[in-house]
């Protein structure tokens, strides 16, 4: 849809300052004659929002970055070669997004890809921050404990120690849960990177006898969706397998980890099978009625 913009008077045009850049010097009329998504279709990264900010910048108006517009503006700046905006957007991202894992997670949760190099720029850095935080949390966690056990065992003597270990474990749990709740493409990539990071779960679980309770609490209670449960289980299983010895002892002292993960894989596979069956039935109601009448299970 094209929106008509009233033509500017000659006095207004004259009063505008001279543009700073020779790379792209649109007149106000050129810049604002069309407000539609056709910018993207024409191949201008960052769309209307990004282009508008760059046009403003040409006339000395600095971009007002927010978490929502920083990527489109950066994309447009990159496309048009506006180095100053590139630098300022980078600074904004490092201060507000890449600074900690929670901010990176929030950013990726709401991020809409722009089909621009900026996608890779923000996604790679956000995932790097998240994976580094998770690997660090694994390293710092000495005891894997489900919250309920922590409360039950609290006494005045061990209160401080348990509080410390519990908060480390809690951080690890939070990162894992949030990472697994990311959109699937990001979750998958983060897991691959975490598996490649040098975290040996086999060593980690030797230090705790409560691995099973922690895993059950993490997967059953902390993860809010089955999708997140799948990602957590896949992540931990791959990490465990990667660090496992090639020969006897096959599981070292980490059999709780192996068996509990297999238990959850079993359960999740059954769940996925059931969901697929229902999806199939919904798509093919005729096969459902047929299977009911013949008493046979519907084929998937």
């Amino acid at each position: 849809m094209t929106k008509s913009i009233p033509l500017l008077s000659s006095s207004q045009v004259i009063s505008l300052p001279r543009p700073r850049f020779n790379v792209f010097t649109p007149t106000p009329l050129q810049a604002f004659s069309t407000f539609s998504n056709s910018w993207v279709e024409c191949g201008i990264s960052g769309g209307v929002e990004g282009f508008s900010a760059i046009a403003d910048f040409c006339y000395l108006l600095k971009p007002n970055f927010t978490l929502e517009n920083v990527a489109p503006i950066r994309a447009a700046a990159e496309f048009l070669g506006v180095m100053e905006v590139l630098e300022s957007s980078k600074k904004f991202l490092y201060v507000n997004v890449f600074v900690q894992w929670q901010a990176s997670i929030s950013f990726l949760q709401q991020y809409r890809r722009l089909s621009s190099p900026v996608d890779e720029y923000v996604e790679t850095r956000c995932l790097k921050v998240i994976v580094a935080a998770c690997a660090k949390a694994f390293g710092e966690t000495k005891y894997l404990t489900a919250p309920i056990l922590f409360l039950a065992n609290r006494t005045p003597e061990n209160n401080h120690h348990q509080h410390t270990t519990s908060s480390q474990c809690q951080t690890l749990t939070e990162i894992l849960v949030h990472m697994s709740s990311l959109p699937d493409a990001y979750a998958s990539e983060a897991i691959e990177a975490l598996v490649d990071a040098k975290v040996n779960l086999n060593l980690k679980c030797r230090q705790s006898r409560n691995v099973r309770s922690w895993l059950n609490s993490l997967i059953d209670n902390d993860c809010q969706t089955d999708r997140a449960r799948c990602w957590v289980v896949l992540c931990l299983s791959h990490m465990l397998i990667k660090g496992a010895p090639a020969n006897r002892p096959w599981m070292e002292l980490s059999s709780q980890y192996w068996c509990t993960l297999l238990e959850h894989v079993d359960h999740l596979m059954t769940m996925v099978d059931e969901v697929m069956k229902v999806a199939h039935l919904l798509q093919n109601p005729s096969s459902a009625s047929l299977s009911l009448s013949t008493g046979q299970a519907p084929s998937v």
Binding site: V233, L253, C259, E263
Partner: protein, 183 residues
């Protein structure tokens, strides 16, 4: 649009299925060959019959177990079988497969040494043979009888009935759910 989304969901589910299946295979193998290393009892975990069957397969074929640990594992498997039978969560053919593995081992052991392997298994199976509530005989049971896989005993009939009931119940629920969704 809706069709596209459902196709995407289906694709995603299929990829999840594949990923989970790959991981499951490795976990089963690792636990199976390392069954003697368990720091808990095997029956503490809730594995489905097929998973247990697979792990036992790895244990028997690859772990080269000594008689004592084999006895121990046989006892654990008995515990599972009893639980599966009670909850009707095992298909007759899987039950038979598991039982056959243990019987086979028993036979081999008897031939090689004069020590009863799976004594616990045999003993528990005797108890399993007389559960209450055996009423009808399913098609599967007839097939097994005709194939002469094992002598028919009440436990198989029991499991067979339970499994059939459970399967029908699942189907009915799924149909009801699909009906609700269609409305």
């Amino acid at each position: 649009m809706v069709k596209g989304e459902s196709a995407l969901t289906k694709l995603f589910l299929m990829s999840l299925q594949v990923r989970l299946a790959d991981v499951k295979k490795v976990l089963e193998h690792r636990i199976g060959v390392g069954m003697e290393e368990l720091d808990d009892y095997l029956h503490c975990y809730r594995f489905v019959p097929e998973t247990l069957m697979s792990m036992i397969g790895y244990y028997v074929n690859e772990a080269d177990p000594d008689p004592e640990s084999l006895d121990e594992v046989a006892g654990e498997v008995d515990g599972f079988l009893w639980n599966f039978a009670e909850t009707g969560s095992i298909a007759p053919d899987v039950f038979l497969s598991l039982f056959k593995v243990m019987m086979l081992q028993d036979l081999q052991r008897s031939m090689s040494k004069d020590k009863k392997l799976g004594a616990k298994s045999a003993s528990n199976f005797h108890h399993l043979s007389y559960p209450s509530g055996c009423h009808s005989c399913s098609i599967k049971l007839h097939q097994m009888k005709n194939e002469s896989v094992l002598p028919i005993c009440p436990i198989l009939e029991f499991i067979s009935t339970k499994a059939t009931i459970s399967k029908n119940a699942c189907q009915t629920s799924a149909m009801r759910f699909s009906g609700q969704m269609a409305q």
